[in-house]
């Protein structure tokens, strides 16, 4: 009983202390000042401009989500149903885009598709100066492309983890009954995958909905989302009241979507027999399989090409290849107070990411149990736990500063504020990965174990943990990734010695000059290397038979 109660109190307390309280604190401050206009909601909802922003934010997120699913599904299939050499590394590479700073990704896109990029140079070479050119920079198209690029890993990871434990029996039965491959997929596999599909889709949607950097850097201010408007109102126009109103509108929308989703999710969940991975992956392949596989791998490489372009640029200097920029990164030629060895910067990122991952796993897993057990109103609880993803980052960031600024809880000078902020964005990933599996778990498993005399802890360790292990690894991967890529945390960066990799990159790109750019890209390359190693390590993590299941 006590254990059960603690299970509920833990995540709820975390949410209340580090989400609801700071949010309430900043909104209280925003609406509290007497000098502001009497009705900030009137300002927002009465202004066609803001209504336009709301509409734009909704539909671009919808289009982005569909696109992301289209890109992600084939790759998910590849990883779920096939074993091949180098799979773990390829899987890690697949997830890299998710953690890259937007400005760096923008440079990768421009190196390929920009006016002086690879594609256009080639086109000029073939067709001459007046020939056709690809023009995607600063358009809506590139925003969609970038959203798919950033988020397809969410679909790949969540869906493939679910898929790989799904018994192939259903498909085989369908085939036996005469269904073709396509029919089997649309009528059997797809409905079975639905919980994980919805799970990843809602994350992609919310991420695209609250998109900030991608939209700004690649699209420009003409395509401002709500998040962008909130930022401008807060930081540049000092209209905290209108910003607060807009932040609430944004939260209302994301909550509504989350509620609809949890309703759908609850309907789509059916008890499923999960089987070990080995029983699922295909070992023998026909020609058709190989062709499909090859096509998917090639497609994947095309998706990852902007990152390759970045690495290429990082190792080029003065017309040839050299490690100049890496050497420069390790030399402190200006004696700046803010200079930090890249090793220190990498270490900062790693330790903050590991701490965030541990907190996110604990909170996320406990929260998943809370949601599953509340059968009646689980949708509301679920949506509430997901809310940190839907709230404006700048609003919550200032909320932290307002909320935790007095003894005994003055977090302003502590790195904990950073880790807590990262965990808040990270734990929803754990919930979204774990929940579909938890819901699909046949209740008789736990019941039998309990009947045989296992206590709840034993049931968890020996029965449930092995089943949710793969989902936990996915959650861990994203928790790690969220922190490594740190979404909008420079606001909360309290001390220069806590500088993380993305912050170091932004710092280098704050000044003009070829070598600043080169070093920023060298740092980005190091980021990719560190994260790849981290992903592979998480993937390889084994505890008894837990990870391999």
């Amino acid at each position: 009983m006590t254990a059960n109660r603690l299970l509920v109190i833990g995540p709820v307390a975390f949410l209340a202390a580090f989400f609801l309280y700071p949010l309430a604190a900043i909104l209280g401050r925003s609406f509290g000042g007497g000098e502001f206009s009497p009705d900030p909601f009137g300002v927002v909802l009465g202004d066609p401009y803001y209504l336009g922003r709301i509409w734009f934010t909704v539909w671009q997120a919808a289009v982005s989500t569909v696109l992301t699913l289209i890109v992600g599904l084939p790759v998910a299939y590849l990883f779920a149903r096939h074993e091949f050499p180098g799979k773990t590394v390829l899987k890690a590479l697949t997830t890299l885009p998710f953690i890259m700073p937007t400005i760096v990704v923008a440079m990768g896109f421009i190196a390929l598709l920009g006016p002086q990029g690879l594609v256009n140079t080639a086109l000029t070479g073939v067709f001459g100066d007046g020939g056709p050119q690809v023009r995607v920079t600063n358009t809506l198209t590139i925003i969609f492309m970038a959203h798919a690029f950033y988020n397809y890993a969410i679909v790949v990871r969540i869906v493939s983890a679910f898929w790989s434990n799904l018994s192939p029996r259903f498909g085989e039965s369908a085939a036996m009954l005469g269904a073709g491959r396509i029919r089997t997929f649309t009528h059997v596999t797809l409905p079975l995958l639905m919980p994980s599909l919805l799970s990843s889709a809602v994350l992609v949607f919310v991420f695209s909905f609250t998109s900030f950097g991608v939209v700004l850097v690649l699209g420009g201010p003409r395509f401002a989302t709500l998040e962008v408007s909130i930022y401008e109102l807060t930081v540049k126009l000092f209209r905290l009241d209108v910003a607060g109103a807009l932040a609430l509108v944004q939260l209302a929308f994301t909550s509504a979507f989350l509620l609809v989703y949890t309703r759908l999710q609850a309907q789509s969940a059916v008890p499923i027999t999960f089987v070990p991975v080995d029983a699922v992956t295909r070992q023998r392949r026909g020609f058709r399989d190989v062709a499909v596989l090859a096509a998917i791998v090639v497609g994947l490489l095309v998706v990852l090409s902007p990152l390759v372009a970045l690495v290429e640029r990082a190792v080029s200097s003065g017309g040839g290849y050299s490690l100049t920029h890496f050497v420069g990164l390790f030399t402190d030629d200006r004696g700046s107070y803010f200079y930090l060895s890249p090793l220190m910067v990498i270490w900062n990122s790693i330790r903050f990411a590991l701490a965030s991952m541990v907190i996110a796993l604990a909170v996320g897993t406990a929260a998943s149990y809370v949601i599953v057990r509340r059968r009646g109103r689980s949708g509301v609880v679920d949506a509430l736990f997901m809310a940190p993803l839907g709230v404006s980052a700048v609003t919550l960031g200032f909320g932290f500063l307002v909320a935790f600024n007095r003894a005994p809880i003055d977090l302003r000078g502590s790195w904990l504020i950073l880790v807590i902020a990262h965990s808040l964005v990270a734990y929803p990933f754990v919930i979204r990965s774990v929940l579909p599996v938890l819901r699909g778990m046949p209740p008789h498993l736990k019941e039998s174990a309990a009947l045989l005399g296992a206590n709840p802890l034993n049931v968890f360790v020996h029965v449930e943990l092995p089943i949710i292990a793969r989902a936990l690894l996915v959650g861990a991967t994203f928790a790690f990734a969220v922190s490594m890529g740190e979404f909008g945390a420079s606001l909360l960066l309290v001390r220069p010695e806590f500088t993380t990799i993305p912050v170091a990159i932004f710092r280098l790109l704050g000044q003009p000059g070829e070598s600043n750019l080169g070093q920023a890209l060298a740092m980005s390359t190091l980021l990719m290397a560190v994260v790849t190693v981290g992903f592979v390590a998480i993937e390889r993590f084994r505890y008894r038979n837990v990870g391999g299941f």
Partner: protein, 347 residues
């Protein structure tokens, strides 16, 4: 159960770790914007001289740092705030977040660089926001750098200028203000008419300097040879070139009244713990040692007239006649300008 016990433990540890974090004796916390930079050696010198610990606390860009200081009014996390410029001064003074302090060394600051007559914010450095151009691109296309802003609305420069969003970027706002100074607000052809024509001439608006400079400026893979940047940018290009160069690859376009003088200052936050130390730091920051150190760190000019300017700054020409709009007028009208500009250029 194990997991939630871990959560509870974590939270206890949080509270504990935080409660234990007392303020060190004689600690000076300086909140700055992200672009602040100074030699480590100078900070160590100040620390040794005053037996103090200096903590530099970056808090986002200048706007974010100011919002943070306003939200923390009365209970500041820092003693000093560095980075208030003439576009933010009005707001900072309205909010009364600073204590007054007039250091003696202010006598060495020429009048045009005194940011705040009321004595709350002390000028430390200044710089100019103006157009930069890609020298090679202009040569290849047989173009001469423009000599008036009006030219930018003509066919030669169609699709060739990238600027920053005035509603979100400091140089963006600075350039908007210089167009207000250049064209006026009530003339037959005012600044909004100019921006309307610029929009028709396919001006590109990016949200921040980094995106504009490193993704759209032709020097770095974009297709726009003109960019709103700083007068010191060519000097930085010279200093930070990958291979040593004789002259930088970019140049300044200095049109009278079309560049913006940006003065940055420092102020003591009301309720500061270490007020005396904060005053000493301001004195130190106005001294020639400090003033001669930051130009090649931050690419701004020293306000102290006795400070020597580094050699690389020969590529950072000083505009003879920057925009003449004072900080107080900016404080009154910035929101109105930004909104009008947004209406014309973005919506």
């Amino acid at each position: 159960m194990k997991i939630s016990a871990a959560v509870a433990l974590m939270m206890l540890m949080t509270v504990f770790a935080v409660a234990c974090r007392g303020d060190a004796d004689n600690e000076l916390v300086i909140m700055t914007h992200d672009s602040f930079a100074i030699s480590e050696e100078l900070i160590a010198e100040f620390e040794a001289e005053h037996d103090a610990t200096v903590v530099l606390q970056p808090a986002g860009d200048a706007g974010e740092a100011l919002v943070r200081a306003i939200l923390e009014k009365g209970n500041p996390s820092a003693d000093l705030l560095y980075g208030i410029d003439n576009t933010y001064l009005g707001r900072a003074l309205d909010e009364e977040i600073f204590d007054e302090y007039r250091p003696d060394l202010l006598d060495e600051v020429p009048a045009q660089f005194v940011l705040d007559e009321s004595g709350h914010v002390t000028s430390i450095d200044y710089g100019y926001v103006n157009l930069n151009y890609d020298i090679a691109y202009l040569a290849d296309h047989g173009l001469m750098p423009p000599t008036t802003l009006e030219e930018l609305t003509g066919p030669d420069w169609k699709g060739r200028l990238v600027v920053e969003n005035a509603a979100s970027s400091s140089p963006g706002l600075a350039f908007l203000i210089s167009t207000v100074s250049y064209f006026g607000e009530d003339d037959d052809y005012d600044y909004l008419d100019f921006w309307r024509d610029l929009r028709a001439n396919d001006v590109l608006v990016k949200d921040g300097w980094t995106a504009a400079y490193y993704t759209d400026f032709s020097q770095y893979g974009g297709d726009r040879p003109l960019v709103v940047s700083y007068a010191t940018s060519p000097a930085a290009e010279y200093l930070f070139s990958a291979e040593p160069v004789e002259v930088p690859p970019t140049g300044n376009i200095l049109i009278d009244k079309a560049s913006f003088l940006q003065i940055e200052g420092i102020g003591i936050l009301k309720g500061a713990n270490s007020k005396d130390l904060a005053k000493k730091f301001i004195d130190f920051a106005l001294g020639t040692r400090f003033q001669e150190d930051f130009p090649e760190q931050m690419f701004v000019y020293p306000v102290n007239q006795n400070a020597a300017i580094p050699d690389s700054f020969r590529f950072a020409e000083i505009p003879s006649a920057p925009a003449d709009i004072g900080a107080l007028e900016i404080g009154e009208k910035r929101e109105q300008w930004i909104q009008a500009w947004t209406e014309v250029v973005l919506r």
